[in-house]
Symmetry: C2
Subunit: 210 residues, 2 copies
DNA sequence: CCATTATATGAAGGATCATTCAGTTTGAGG
DNA sequence: CCTCAAACTGAATGATCCTTCATATAATGG
């Protein structure tokens, strides 16, 4: 995976001492805040550095250029998200399909909601070409995990597992994204999540009765 | 609606002669192509002008600044999309709910697919603050149209119309968007569209049986 | 406590780019 | 054919911003 990332996007060096890790975290955090506050267009290296309480030069010790910073931010986030999905999928092997879907929706939704600021910031972080590679890598991992899970459903076997899986994943992820784009939060979002679950379950029973 | 747009984003002047309209179209088209080809970061006024075969100065007679160009592009597109949805919703008043959903999905999907380059270009066109106002305006129009339609379903009445409507709209729009983001096209996309329809219908019958 | 390496600084360079405006060309109406 | 406004031109301006580098400070291990 790392080998497929465009060479120039890799981090310049890894933090060794503790303070360096702190600096990196501060830079990431500052990036998120500025992205949220002012949008991608206003995101300048100087501003990020200033907000993070470091100097520009420091940032350039860890990132060869600005794009690499945003890339790293997405990378970090998407890998953590993929991890969570993989874990929850593995935990639900052999369970009823309805439980699987509930777990998947809950996990994904919570991951996005827990720090909705980060979610929103990243949705804004500009869809430059390089990010799409990250998104695709995430999609592949998620697909593999959910497919493997659904294949073990204790109460259902799917005539076309790939199709059902692709449908569910696309619908769930897309719905969550759209919910954020429309700024649906709080109780409204909760209701939507419940309805989405109902919908997916209705789809599953429909499929097993066919 | 126009009165709610940030003052400075309005077009500078309307085309009067025929050639001016041609110029404007060329500028929009060039913007789309460059957005698609090189991403929003590489989109410069000079490049757009050059690609459109006009000079920078010409562009600035119609748009007070670059942001206004992107804003206008989104505005154009979203208003046309809202229009299409309103029309199809009106045409399906009084029909069975399943037909309504099919029409809605088909219309939305086709609108996005017909010129998928434009769709993708706009998805990339940077989520700067001002665009979100456009998106919200679109959402309000779409919600109103679909709610009014669903309320007249010949075979179903909904206990919580607003909730069902919000769910359907969010799921459908989100799924389509995600399908594009994952580059699902051709036969795969077709299959997904069919499955999405099944899913929404299953949701509807589930609801009417409750 | 010294040498070495890691980490941090921020002014300056250099490039890009949005925007303007003085002037030219084109079309429309009379 | 003439006049006026509309439409178009593109070099110049000024601002912004990414990136570098020479230098300084802090930690580490011996």
């Amino acid at each position: 995976m790392a080998s497929s990332t465009p060479r120039s996007l890799n981090a310049r060096k890894q933090p060794i001492q503790g303070r360096a890790a702190v600096t990196l975290d501060a830079v990431f955090e500052a990036t998120i805040q500025l992205l949220l506050r002012d949008g991608p267009h206003q995101l300048t290296t100087t501003r990020v550095a200033h907000r993070a309480g470091v100097s520009v030069g420091t940032m350039y010790q860890y990132f060869p250029h600005k794009q690499a910073l945003i890339y790293a931010l997405n990378d970090r986030y998407l890998k953590a998200l993929a991890e969570k999905i993989e874990v929850v999928c593995r935990e639900h092997h052999g369970k009823p399909a309805a439980d699987m879907i509930e777990a998947l929706i809950d996990t994904y939704w919570r991951a996005k909601t827990e720090r909705s600021d980060v979610t929103r910031a990243l949705y804004r972080s500009v869809a430059d070409m390089d990010n799409s590679a990250l998104i695709e890598a995430f999609a592949i991992r998620a697909d593999a995990a959910t497919t493997a899970m659904l294949a073990t459903a204790s109460d259902t076997t799917f005539a076309d597992l790939a199709l059902v899986n692709r449908t569910l994943v696309t619908v769930i992820f897309g719905t969550v994204r759209n919910a954020f784009e429309r700024n649906l939060t709080g109780a409204v979002a909760e209701d939507l999540r419940r309805e989405l679950l109902k919908m997916c379950r209705a789809y599953l029973t429909h499929h097993s009765h066919n």
